[in-house]
Amino acid sequence: MTSGKARLKSLPFGVGANSVGVEPVFLQSELRGKKLVLSARGDWVAAHANEIEPQVESALKKQTRVDQIEIDASKVKRVDTIGAWLIERLKRNWESGGAKAAIVGLDPRYKVLLDEVAASNRQPPVPPKRETPLADTLAYIGMSAAESWVDLKALMQFLGHVMVAAGRVLMRPWSFRFTSVVNQIDRVGFRAVPIIVLIMFLIGAILAQQGIFHFRRFGAETYVVDMVGILVLREVGVLIVSIMIAGRSGSAYTAELGSMKMREEIDALRVMGFDPVEVLILPRLIALIIAMPLLTFIGSMSGLFGGGLVTWLYGGMPPEVFIERLRDAISRSTFEVGMIKAPFMAFVIGLIACVEGLRVAGSAESLGEHTTASVVKAIFLVIVLDGLFAIFFAGIDM
């Protein structure tokens, strides 16, 4: 019927390379008159490649002035692609020296294979140029600097995009993805409660313990309440919650969006006429902005509770006294300062996470890289933002 039917089938292949014993000598050279005869023997297969290759190379090194070479392969039992290539390499090297090389005695069934490898590797690819370590380092520093500018531009561009999408949703409120937001709030808010409560409880307790331990020397233990109250409500609560959320939810956002990007799901949305920012990113950002103040509140309360518990058990201050002092130590603005910061932190974390997610390209490695970048950048920016807020609130006497 077709050429495909006429083929060699009765090949006496053993059940794998492993069944044959190791033969140490694969290649012997012998000068016969003006002709150099290289006799190959044994199994020229992948499993022996690391023994065959040195023998091929040493045969080439002994290159004497002959202009006729015969590669006698009649004793070769089996050949695979790697063996065939090594035979070809032998032949080719002699030929490049101007000699005539011929392969004789090879089992005809391997002819196709040999022809196949003979056609390949005609021009070896040039290896990529290597710079010196110093130049590499300098280039890396330069590129990172340029990169941060690109980062900033991307962030600004993305911010614009988000604003436009938000504006569009405001014009058409019925197109707002309410279910999606609720789902995201459940994921980033509700499910984060246990860990936030636990961490803030511990932080509050540690702060109180350290305060009591050091203030005791001045007889100023009662000021522990002031310290714990102000620190937890103003700074530590929102900071710790932000860092936790950047690590927990920011990374999840980046990984989700990144793998969607990799599998062209985002492109699919776009060609169906949806704006990925509106469908995927806005609900995530809004969910984070709603969840973060709530988490900050819960976290701060848990921190105060931890502090109170330690001042009672370790410092011997009854809970009524603790609450009394707390009422004097903090004002409403202390609480407000912490809470005002929370949505801004959420916005920054969400924005960074989404930008990094959308910048994932092709490979799994890139996904990992951007997820790391997302967390690191978000935490860094959260701390910078907190510093700016401190200056601002000091300026307005809050």
């Binding site: 083929r7 009765s10 290759e53 692609t81 290539w85 070896p124 092709g362 490979s363 799994a364």
Partner: protein
């Protein structure tokens, strides 16, 4: 005809399913040394599931699978790895490692299993690339930078890196232009002849079935309903096979051949 009809893979009473549903029910199949077995079946009938079960990627509910005469349930860790080195797989989606270049993908098994010099590995990778019909500069590219057909070829080059005895090909020619698909068939044939390769090929490509497959097995309702040379399947009275081979597409191919 070939005298040696040793089975390299033999599957008996295989049952595989997900949840409530059995995808494969009491399936029997033999793969003989040196043959190219075409495997056909409707989309979603369980062709990939069968391949993945033989490869040990999916658990089976019942039945036995033997490879190279060894029951895969009874082999130890080490022997299993030795067996795995003797087959190569081309996954339906390519499954190239996305963070490695094409060259590194091809060299991956060489590097892990054999102690070869870097130079030899580079040369082998270049030769394999050329064999599957990819230009040499493809080696330095990342999988994300390749077209769909190029991914198929690069994945084939990777599956052939260790010169395996069996290759499992899941729809190797889908997504290739007809000329490339034809070249691909020739390539499989050449490899089978030179390396004694045994090929298990899931395919919908009627041309591949006619030109390269020694035998064709048809899967329907979780069972192999027919297996044999393509001619015997063409003559089968089974309604599904009738529709498969004598439907509009099948007919146009047959009439094209007669001219």
């Amino acid at each position: 005809m070939a005298p040696a009809q040793e089975n390299v893979i033999s599957v008996r009473n295989l049952r595989v399913g997900f949840g409530q549903r059995d995808v494969l029910k009491d399936l029997d199949l033999d793969l003989k040394r040196g043959e190219i077995l075409g495997f056909v079946g409707a989309s979603g009938s369980g062709k990939s599931v069968l391949a993945r079960t033989i490869l040990g990627l999916l658990p089976k509910r019942a039945g036995t699978i033997e490879a190279f005469g060894r029951n895969l349930d009874q082999v130890g860790e080490e022997e299993r790895q030795a067996i795995e080195r003797r087959w190569g797989v081309l996954f339906q989606g390519g499954a190239l490692f996305s963070s490695l270049t094409v060259r590194q993908n091809i060299q991956f098994t060489l590097r892990e299993n054999l102690h070869m010099s870097q130079r030899l590995m580079d040369e082998i990778a270049a030769a394999k690339l050329e064999m599957v019909g990819l230009p040499p500069d493809t080696g330095a590219k990342l999988p994300a930078e390749l077209s769909g057909g190029m991914v198929k070829r690069a994945a084939l080059a990777r599956s052939l890196a260790l010169d395996p005895e069996i290759v499992f090909l899941d729809e190797p020619t889908s997504g290739l232009d007809p000329i490339s698909a034809g070249d691909f068939d020739d390539l499989i044939l050449a490899l089978q002849q030179t390396l004694g390769l045994t090929v298990f090929m899931v395919t919908h490509d009627l041309d591949s079935l006619h030109t390269v497959c020694d035998r064709v097995a048809a899967l329907s309702n979780g069972k192999v309903i027919a297996v044999g040379p393509i001619e015997s399947l063409l003559e089968s009275k089974d309604p599904w096979l009738q529709a498969y081979f004598h439907g509009k597409r099948g007919r146009s191919r047959m009439s094209g051949k007669k001219k």
